[in-house]
Amino acid sequence: MNSIIKRNQREKRFKFYGILAVATAILLLVILLFKIFSTGISAFNQTYIGVKIQIQVNSDISNLDPRRELRRNIRTMFPDVKTRSEKKNLYSLFSNGAYYEFEEMLDNYNGEKIDGYYYFLASDDLDMYFKGTVKRKGNSAGRIQPSQMKYIDMFENMNLIELKYNKYLLGSSDSREPELAGILGAIYGSFYAILIAFITSFPLGILTAIYLEKLASKNRFSDIIETNINNLAAVPSIVFGLLGLAIFLNFFDLPRSASLVGGLTLGLMTLPTIVIASRSAIKSVPPSIEEASIGLGSSKIQTIFNFSLPLAMPGILTGTIIGMARAIGETAPLLMIGMVAFIVDIPSGPMDAATALPVQIYLWQDSPERAFVERTSAAIMVLLLFLFLLNITAVYLRKKLEKKW
């Protein structure tokens, strides 16, 4: 009797430990996500300053310098600003992007009269202050001097400082100025790299798995290959970076920093994962189905392509997507092949120099400007979103392709 009670207690205790472990894991995950989201969410909005713009009907704007014209409009709002240093302080509240925005506005001028307040991008210092990331101490806040704060207060009193959707974050490429920096270039770079990694490693991985599992005779040689593939899956990713550097850059002389090279390197890195997943998926196809096919007079290859492969496909795809998810978040091999550069242009193809999303995160977290902190977190949010989507796809494909028997 006593032993039964003890056994039940033991089982309850063990169950409790299990719940505790799961709860700890969930708690840590929630803390991580909360930290990233609470820091990153503000990067999706950006501070803008309203400026009164006046352009008469049918003005000739072809000779206007947007920079001078915007500054003239700003100065009109503050007639007291006279000296050079006062002007400099006033203008410094605006980002360089404000002049591009104004230029765009002038490009779209259709001859109608313009008279009203239009919003232009503020500098990252003002942005940090306005979002409350940098706290005000007396008349200064972080890098904002009292001489600048004077104008900020004036704009605030006129209700001309506003948060608007940050179109630069998801719409542009990297920049030295945080308020203009975006991850679109990195998203393109990641996309090309993953596409190339998939195109190279998926067929190679499946063919390797089929050969090893179904066609190769079991001998010493196939044992050695098997052991090596299993070991390759555990090789640190930076070593694959070195391999990519040696093969694709030094030997084949492919362009440095190109997502083509990044993709090939990531493909090499993912290959063992795909081979292992595909082999176990092919192995788990019921032999009775394959026997039935052989018994009806199918050749070995016909059996593989009619039954083994389609029935193993859910498992193969799941393994592939997990491998791809690992590759999309990988930084180290990309550092080795030079995808760690500061690139302002959005790559137009896999041969162009590019960075990838995790490398962009790595670069931004290293930048001194405060405004890059929230951008780093925002980029992590986007990366997590991609990983989440990939995993959803894996689950969906598995459910859809899985057949019961």
């Binding site: 005779s217 079991k218 019921p286 009775s288 189905i289 026997e291 039935a292 096919s293 052989i294 018994g295 009806l296 007079g297 199918s298 050749s299 016909q302 009619n306 039954f307 029935l311 057949k403 019961k404 028997w405």
Partner: protein, 254 residues
């Protein structure tokens, strides 16, 4: 009345690696008869039946010596293609193994593979007649395009028989076809075997002596990889010549 010889094994030895599975088997199987192989587990019945359509080729470590002749042709000769050999020999397995496809596609698989039809109508005809031969058509005619895995065990096994019949084989090998089925489903399969022997040569491995007695014309008793005794079923069961056969059919071993 002399029967036409269909399969004959001469001095057949089979090895799995170093282990010998069959010892010097000499067996004749006649056309349009049911021959059953009986014997205790592990005696080599399934190994023998798999030699007839060279399924053992799939096992790397399996080696043969001796001869198997089908219609006077050595099937292990290098000029014999195992794939075309298997189209002449249908096989039904122990566990029903329909493909995870529709009933129609299950049966159409073989004919499609070997290009045995010209028009869609021909294929429909093959599918329907195979189902009719397997006695399954009336039960499934309304759901030909549903999955074959949704049928009951007995129906699945008859589907597998229909699938084997669709490629128009001469010989049907059955490896314990009823071992996973209930008595009613078993009775249906046995009836079916009775009908099929008019047109096909049937070799059946079975664990049930009653089944061997009911369905087969000839019986071969195997023990530890050796063929102990073979003869007409009625003689084997009523008057076994060998003591081991006697022991087995009276239930003392096995």
């Amino acid at each position: 009345m002399t029967k036409e010889l269909k399969i004959s094994a001469k001095n057949l030895n089979v090895f799995y690696g170093k282990k010998q599975a069959l010892f010097d088997i000499n067996l004749n199987i006649y056309a349009n008869e049911v021959t059953s192989l009986i014997g205790p587990s592990g005696c080599g019945k399934s190994t023998l039946i798999k030699c007839f359509n060279r399924m053992n080729d799939l096992v790397d470590i399996c080696k043969y010596s001796g001869q198997i002749m089908i219609d006077g042709q050595d099937i292990n000769h290098s000029s014999t293609d195992p794939v075309s050999l298997r189209t002449r020999i249908g096989m039904v397995f122990q566990k029903p193994n329909p493909f995870p496809k529709s009933l129609y596609d299950n049966i159409a698989y073989g004919p499609r593979l070997h290009g045995m039809f010209n028009t869609k109508e021909d294929l429909d005809e093959i599918v329907i007649s195979s189902l009719k031969k397997a006695g399954l058509f009336n039960e499934v005619k309304d759901r030909l395009f549903e999955s074959g895995t949704g049928l009951s065990g007995g129906q699945q096994q008859r589907l597998c028989i229909a699938r084997a019949l669709a490629v128009n084989p001469e010989i049907i090998l059955m490896d314990e076809p009823c071992s996973a089925l209930d008595p009613i489903a078993t009775a249906k399969i046995e009836e079916l075997i009775e009908e099929l022997k008019e047109k096909y040569t049937i070799v059946i491995v079975t664990h049930s002596m009653q089944q061997a007695a009911r369905v087969s014309n000839r019986t071969a008793y195997m023990h530890m990889g050796e063929l102990i005794e073979t003869g007409l079923t009625k003689n084997i069961f009523s008057n076994p010549k060998h003591a081991k056969t006697q022991d087995y059919i009276t239930g003392r071993i096995g």
